[in-house]
Symmetry: C2
Subunit: 119 residues, 2 copies
């Protein structure tokens, strides 16, 4: 029941596309990440995934459209929906998704991390 | 898959202690609320509850201690733990909790709302 200061946690993240867990609530993890550049196309078979933009702006690409998600905005990507996050400039964001969700979903890439750590 | 602008949603909330749903992600609801004053002591038998402070500062009271949670900070209240949120000045916050969670938990008061609406 310790509180979490998001700015302090973000200050400890120095790499991109590497989410860290900051909270657990009823089987969900809240993770923080800094991202920059293009991620990989993927989907999550069983998990919805919420992206909450803390700074910057993220382009969320779907196969048939794309959405700019700005600071102070969030978007939910339902399970099964292919998506690719793109960040022309660095973006700080929070992810809310079930415990155990892999950020690269159904594909394994050099960026896939199967053991996510708390920060 | 429409994005949600938190500031725009908050601007439509005119009352206190009345959470509105803005997103659903894998069985959880993200809700927004404005609060001011003292809430009721309660606990949630089965649900953890995350409070994310968007503006202002919230005093979270437990039976044995209390924690000031500031803008940009969050705190998770585990299931079963009695708590009382207190906001001497208005606080804007997000709640993340399982679908169906009642904000007054195990007690029914004049503020209990069993049918929460989307905004």
């Amino acid at each position: 029941m310790e509180k979490v200061n998001l700015r302090e946690k973000l200050g400890r993240i120095e790499d991109h596309w590497h989410p860290r867990i900051v909270a657990e609530v009823s089987g969900m993890h809240v993770k923080l990440a800094k991202v920059k550049g293009e991620f990989d196309w993927h989907h999550h078979a069983d998990e919805d995934e919420l992206f909450w933009i803390l700074s910057g702006r993220l382009l969320m690409q779907f196969r048939d459209r794309e959405v700019w998600v700005e600071q102070g905005e969030l978007i939910v990507v339902p399970k099964g929906v292919e998506h690719r996050p793109v960040a022309p400039e660095e973006v700080e964001l929070a992810l809310i998704e079930p415990v155990g969700t892999l950020h690269t979903g159904n594909v394994v890439t050099a960026r896939t991390r199967t053991e996510l750590e708390w920060i």
